[in-house]
């Protein structure tokens, strides 16, 4: 039986990786979109800390 070799926690780990990926993508795009809107009122702010967060996602 194949099932007997698979740790019962595997599904949970894969699920969390998926969720983490979804959240990561969500955060990434939210920051991109937020950044787009923020640019309008303030024309030339220097590099914001949000850039760093983008890199980490």
């Amino acid at each position: 039986m194949v099932v007997a070799y698979i740790d019962p926690g595997t599904g949970g780990i894969v699920l969390q990786m998926l969720v983490a990926a979804v959240i990561g993508v969500g955060v990434f795009f939210r920051q991109r979109i937020a950044a787009l809107f923020r640019r309008k009122p303030a024309p030339s702010p220097p590099a914001s800390p949000q850039r760093d967060e983008n890199q980490s996602t």
Binding site: V2, Y5, I6, D7, P8, G9, T10, G11, G12, I13, V14, L15, Q16, M17, V19, A20, I23, G24, V27, S56, T57
Partner: protein
């Protein structure tokens, strides 16, 4: 009294980083060298002090190398160099003896503990309901060696185990009224995703409450092949310091467990028992007075309340300073008593146990989790309004009831004799053969006198019942 040989806990063998043993009436834990740096760092951190003072984790101290005890422990365990001393707990209980809210509170403790630990880059490497005990009706985490420092922080490797040990049994209780006793005694690892999926039902598991944790997890588990598992190993081991995804998941689970806990209100048929039962007010007050007076005079340190119902007499016992183990076969009674005891932090441990079929020893060699009768002995046993249940419903003989009670008590017994003319006795007999024609108070006394000495006899006014204060011979 000094135990010269350390006695290793039969349930403490899975984790190679250490084990628990009893020595000199204390509870100790040996920690392996490779795991020691993490444990030492954690125990010396303000975080741990914080967790100890808030009662989330068991009080633990490092046995100093200069301590003579350390040298003796080293002699017994030459392969270990580090030892911890834990505060001993009055009683040990297991999840199959808990009520719904007890399991829910143990789940919440895990989630909150994990969130706190993450702040300092620690993490729980497992989520086992057996790592929680209860003290003053509060859950307390007891396994120090479950703490690790993972590299990947955005996932919680113990999430699957958390589901099996906590979330699925809670959902199974809410949807199908399957008690932790029914679920855990069959499998010490709780419910698998597959089992949860079929218990909850394929259609229902699509609902928002179940979709992610039950349906999706089962689906993924079903489609995993050994190849995929091997490639997963590398991915779990990567270093990722951002814990936000995990924190979000923990917060979601915490909200969910809280919601489940609120969703359900116990409705035990026994709850109204005290009100509708055989007693006049005078009778009930007299009974409570007797119990109170005897307990206050004898001052037993530990009391076992058998058939505790919603715990009226357990409270009286707790009021006289005793640590009380209160058991009943009715889940909702235990639930009600736990909720109240938990709110008032009473020294009562309510457990779902059928004394005519007490929890067996289970697990590896039937010793991993000890049998109830080994954990239950007390200085005083209360057997109030119990005798007729054991005689009629459980079909036990007077002599076997006497022997059971004599084995459970170290010193004294307060027992209520219920005559067969009593209306509740008659209710129990309604659809059964009346095999109790010869049951009289004299026979009761004669039988119990073989193992007990009668100290006081007190007929309850307006009833066919009589209270006895007995001392073990």
């Amino acid at each position: 009294m000094r135990t010269s040989q350390p006695e290793r806990d039969a349930g403490s063998y899975r984790d190679p980083s250490g084990f628990v043993f009893r020595y000199d009436n204390g509870i100790y834990r040996a920690v392996a060298d490779d795991h020691w740096p993490i444990v030492e760092k954690l125990l010396n951190s303000p975080l741990w002090q914080n967790l100890e003072t808030s009662g989330w984790v068991i009080s633990t101290e490092i046995v100093p190398t200069a301590d003579p005890v350390h040298r003796r422990l080293r002699d017994h365990h030459p392969e270990y160099h580090h030892f911890l001393r834990h505060r001993p707990l009055e009683r040990i209980s297991y999840p199959y003896e808990w009520s719904f809210s007890m399991l829910a509170d143990a789940a919440l403790l895990h989630l909150r503990l994990q969130r706190k630990l993450l702040e300092q880059n620690f993490s729980l490497k497992d989520a086992s309901a057996f790592n929680v005990q209860f003290s003053n009706a509060q859950p307390i985490f007891v396994d120090v060696l479950s703490l690790a420092r993972p590299t990947r922080m955005d996932i919680w490797p113990a999430y699957g185990q958390f589901c099996r040990m906590f979330l699925y049994p809670l959902l199974a209780y809410l949807t199908r009224r399957l008690t932790p006793r029914q679920l855990f005694l069959g499998s010490l690892d709780g419910l698998t995703a597959k089992e949860a999926y079929y218990i909850i039902g394929p259609l229902r598991s699509l609902a928002p409450t179940y979709f992610l944790d039950v349906f999706l997890q089962y689906l993924i588990e079903k489609s995993i092949t050994p190849d995929k598992v091997r490639s997963l190993r590398k991915r779990v081991a990567v270093s990722r310091g951002d814990a936000r995804a995990q924190i979000l998941n923990l917060a979601r689970l915490e909200r969910k467990v809280l919601r489940l806990k609120k969703k359900w209100n116990p409705s035990s048929s026994w709850q109204s028992y005290q009100k509708k039962c055989t007693y006049s007010d005078d009778g009930r007050i007299a009974k409570a007075d007797f119990v109170q007076r005897v307990l206050a005079a004898e001052k037993p340190q530990t009391v076992l309340d058998l058939g505790c119902n919603t715990g009226h007499y357990s409270r009286i016992a707790a009021g006289t300073g005793a640590s009380v183990l209160a058991v009943d076969t009715d889940h909702d009674c235990i639930e009600v008593l736990y909720r109240e005891a938990s709110q008032e932090k009473l020294p009562i441990l309510p457990l779902l146990v059928d004394i005519a079929n007490p929890t067996p020893g289970v697990g590896f060699r039937n010793q991993e989790r000890r049998a109830f009768l080994e954990r239950a002995t007390s200085e005083c046993v209360l057997a109030l309004a119990l005798l007729h249940h054991l005689l009629v419903a459980a079909r036990l003989s007077l002599a076997s009831i006497r022997d059971l009670l004599a084995d459970l008590t170290k010193k004294m017994l307060i027992i209520e004799y219920v005559d067969r003319k009593d209306p509740m006795f008659q209710t129990l007999l309604a659809l059964r053969d009346d095999l109790y024609g010869d049951l009289t108070r004299d026979l009761f006394i004669a039988t119990f006198s073989e193992r007990f000495e009668v100290i006081e006899e007190y007929p309850i006014p307006d009833t066919q019942r009589c209270l006895y204060h007995l001392r073990k011979r």
